[in-house]
Amino acid sequence: MRCPIETQENAELLLAYCSRSLDAERTAMLEEHMRDCQSCREFAGGQKAVWEALDTWEAAPVSPDFDRRLYRRIEQEVSWWDLLMRPFRPLVFRQGLPIAATAAVVLMAGLLFQHPANIQRSAAPESAQVEAMPPDQVEHALDEMETMREFNRLVRPDTAEPKM
């Protein structure tokens, strides 16, 4: 047997041996090798010591209220929307989405075929609109017309008054 300690790949054999997870056949082979190989014996001795030291480290038991705290956090996560949607969720996810999508497409198509003119008509205004003028502006315009008329009469007296 090639010395396992020589390569990192084979060293996993020693690690497995020390963690007692090596099969019987390879365990026997390795033990036979270790009888003559001091490096492997030292490696295995050190690794066993590490393994046993790690065994002494027991974790404390989980707090009795761990689940209660967790479920309280989960409940806080459930929003009002979830509460509202919960009864419909299976329906929505399994059948609702395809049905709703199809219904929306059919509805849109129906609207387009039934009232195609509405869309064009809405682009043009229904009737012409007369812009309203404020009264003082009208009065000012009339004054200006009167001034012009006076001016015309002074310059060309024969054409100042229209002939009826």
Binding site: S21, A53, L54, W57, A60, P61, L70
Partner: protein
Amino acid sequence: MSERVKTGIGVAAAALDYDAELMLRVKEGDGASFGVLLDKHRSSVVHFLYRMVQNHAVAEELAQDVFLRVYRSRSTYEPTAKFTTWLFRIATHLALNALRDGKNERLQEHLDDDSSDMPVRQVSDHRPSIEQSMVHRATLDEVRRAIKTLPEKQRAAVLMHKYEEMEYSQIAAVLSCSESAVKSLLFRAYETLRARLAHMA
């Protein structure tokens, strides 16, 4: 419910592991299955996190986050890997983040008090003497310090290998690296631990 889960995607999950099947039931709205998963993995997750961050309060807080994330992800869960691989990937991710953020540093002053909560192993049928207790405490303290000196990824690999008895392939999946990278991590980690703890033999 159970019959339906076993059809379709449930078959793939059942082929993977029973936990994945339970998680698929949670996805279908079965809260009791979440309780079963919690019962099954609560201790291992808390203990793993405790050994990672070495503070019981922080470990429990992180474990709560782990299970909360599992619950939140129920609607998008797909059994693409072993459930425990996914669970420990979340746990490792949170632990590494907590260590990088120094989350447990603010509770570090309680570290020594924390060790007093640990169960003292009975070396015989009788209660351990004061001397035995002190020796045990000293050993434990040395083990904890040795683990703490390991780089984070090596620490996670050792804890999963030693205490969770995970195979190299699963540790590799949790740490998102190759199997040979895991072997290398473990080899180096145990080398450091042997240098620090071999005298205990």
